[in-house]
């Protein structure tokens, strides 16, 4: 087994573990005070103008009318079209949009390579002139998604990089890791593009490598362009979870658990139990108006200055 295969196995294993660990860490944080931000799309009939159930007299006596479709529509607009960047920062969207679409295509490409590799391992030839109709479809889709993915992602990441370099407002706010992240992405996408154009137009080599991973068979003779791409890809998978580029994870929480989280605290509900638990936490804030060492509930009942640290 080659070093490339070992590092590929490790990166494929580590990437989801780190990502899930981060998600679990965030999800396990305690209930927080409400910090709504409108519009909230699940407010049926009101989300178009940013209204909420607080617009109703005696809102707590009325059934909450939520629209899952509206929320899903908003999510789709955001995920597919990168709508908030389109709305608020059009010059950046020109590159952010192809970059993200390119990434989605490449995720699709990976899935198709896995499917193709499994078919290959099962003895089905995946090619444009295969006798198996599904294999022909897989081959065509692989080439389409691959071409779109490599081109759009390279164009997108180059555009984002040059935007940071040339736009003064962006440049002054950019830190070293932003450039490192973009260059890391560029390295992976550009070598993928070169590998595809120069040595692997039909993806037979990439598919063969994936098949070697699935079947635990050694692989030899990878062209330098493909091998370089695969090494860089494995490196990116190790690095990625430590960066803000995992914002697809963060975004779930920032939207669904903070700005759209408008669940009222109704007696006897899960929220009230969580609040009561949190009010029992002990505080160590040191200011004189806070009773250090008390619970939040006690601190809230104590007015005036207290003598801490005696």
């Amino acid at each position: 087994m080659s070093g490339l295969q070992v590092i590929s196995y490790l990166s494929i294993a580590v990437f989801p573990v780190l990502l899930i660990a981060k998600m679990v860490r965030i999800a396990r944080m305690p209930v927080h005070l409400r910090w709504d931000l409108y519009p909230i799309p699940h407010e049926k009939g009101k989300s178009a103008y940013g209204g909420s159930y607080f617009e109703e007299v005696d809102w707590w006596t009325k059934p909450r009318v939520r629209s899952l479709i509206s929320e899903l529509r908003e999510m789709a607009k955001e995920i597919v079209f990168i709508h908030s960047v389109y709305k608020h920062n059009r010059p950046l969207w020109v590159f952010s949009f192809p970059f993200h679409i390119g990434m989605y295509c490449l995720i699709g490409l990976m899935a198709l390579l896995v499917i193709g590799a499994i078919m290959g391992a099962a003895g089905i030839v995946v090619s444009a002139d295969s006798a198996n109709g599904f294999a022909v479809l897989v081959q065509h889709l692989t080439r389409i998604l691959g071409a779109a993915g490599w081109i759009l992602s390279v164009v997108g990441v180059l555009g984002l990089l040059f935007s940071r370099l040339l736009n003064r407002e962006l440049r002054v706010a950019t830190i070293l890791s932003d450039y490192v992240n973009l260059l890391a992405l560029l390295a992976v996408f550009a070598t993928g593009l070169v590998s595809w154009i120069t040595v692997d137009p039909s993806y037979a080599i990439m598919r063969g490598f994936v098949r070697s991973l699935i079947t635990f068979q050694p692989v030899t003779g990878l062209p330098a362009a493909t091998a370089t791409h695969l090494w860089l890809m494995a490196g990116l998978l190790f690095y990625f979870p430590f960066t803000h580029m995992t914002h697809m994870v963060g975004k779930y929480f920032t939207y669904h658990k903070v700005r759209w989280e408008d669940e009222p605290n109704i007696r006897g509900t899960r929220i009230e139990q969580a609040v009561q638990a949190a009010l029992g936490y002990k505080i160590t804030w040191s200011a004189p108006h806070i009773k250090t060492g008390s619970t939040w509930a006690d601190a809230a009942m104590t007015t005036g200055e207290v003598k801490n640290h005696e």
């Binding site: 965030i26 519009p39 803000h244 108006h289």
Partner: protein
Amino acid sequence: MSKRRTTLKDFSHKPGQLVELDRRQFLPLPPPYDKWDTEPEIKPLSEERQRQLECDLDGISAFKFPRPQSEEEKRRLVEQFLAGLKKLFERENNWTFQQALFLTMEYCARCQTCATACPIYAESGKMDIYRPTFRSDIVRRLYKKYVKAGGKFFAVVSGNDIDVTWTMVARLMELSYRCTLCRRCAQSCPIGVDNGLVTHELRKIFSQEMGVAVEALHTKGSVLQLEAGSSTGMTPAAFLDNVEFMEDEVKERTGLSFKWPMDKAGADILLIHNAGEYLAWPENPEAFAIILEAAGISYTLSSDIVAYDGVNYGVWYDDVQLAKVALKHMETARKLGVKKVVIGECGHAHKALTVIADRVLAGDLNIPRESSMTLLRDIITSGRIKVDPSRNDDITTTLHDPCNLVRLMGVVEPQREVLRAVSNHFREMTPHGVDNYCCGGGSGFAITQDLNFPDFREIVSGRAKLRQILNVFQDIIGPEHKKYVCAPCSNCKGAIRDMFAAYGLFERCNILYGGLVELVVNAMPEIERPFLEWDWH
């Protein structure tokens, strides 16, 4: 001295005032303020004040924080700051915002989309220090270096060379009061990162750990409210005197004679106004009393300490103070046995008690709270009182959307329905609703009247709102037309009042500001004399 460009190194180390506010750099205003020399000036602090107080950010002082006298004192303050920073990320100390803050620290892509949404940054002529990410990137770097495990090692690897100096902490202290917490930045963020929250959490370090806060918010704000009964200093006895005076004034202005319900156990509603209304704009609680009396609503006011003042300044700087005030409000509601608490025309009181404090209240203190906007809308649309919009025909009205009520709570339409019912000449500002601009007085700015801070509020943080007001009335900007900015929020009214005075808006353009209920009473046919006293503003 640099006017706009600031590096992080300068922020941490450069001695003296970092930037200079020059009104010629700001975005120009529409007529009649389209020449920069028609604008008020930002007055520098006296040399003595500059020697005494920390004002090395932009020459403005909100905190009035005395300069430390020794290196030892600076070191101690820096240590306190770092201790507070760490506590922000601890479950027990900051369950209130830990998750939201962690997300904001971890996921900002520095795309600067938020910068375009920030009125202070844009109106200042894009001064770096006011960029929403400028403040939060400093905090983010400090978090990564001093809070995260292995932070110091990774700081070296990643080129995060930030060092905490007293100069930096003192500037951050002031910088935490150059954002009104309007959260337009968060609304525009594609990832949902919230730079406004960073401002909020920074203020908590200073207040909850270091024991320092802007005097108007803390000592003369929430502390005074908890001790005397109101942040205005009004005691229960003074409050009752004021109500008696207002009852007489209602009789004099309208001929209506009735007692305001006070401490009435078993009423349906406990109505809580911002106590500033009783002192600065008594016509607002008077109008409420007239409407509720005419509609036959079962309600009461309270003369209990804290419960006659709906403000809760804790929402801007201190979670513990927030909880203390909210509990006092709700203890009175429980004692009176009301079915619900209704909040008068005060945006932050709305958000504090209805949204934020929702997760501070448990058990029998968790009594429902709702907006007066919905109650007014229902009173009018149900026909419980009659209104004739033609009585307001000589006035062109526009509506200011208080951020707390609209973007941060989703109460958008009820006040519009009321306004449309009582005004035939209502026009919207651009943008409005959840996309509105802050009045410039958000997050405590409106009540911070010390030194030269009001200049910042009137000329920089309120500038976008002033532009909107001038634009919406531009075709009738002359003094021959009566124009009314309806601002259903005490805090916003305070900021607008001071901005109007600084620019002479009433005198030059005949624009008046006021609340919503005053327009409603002005439209009630049974009130003979106009309720709005235009010339006595």
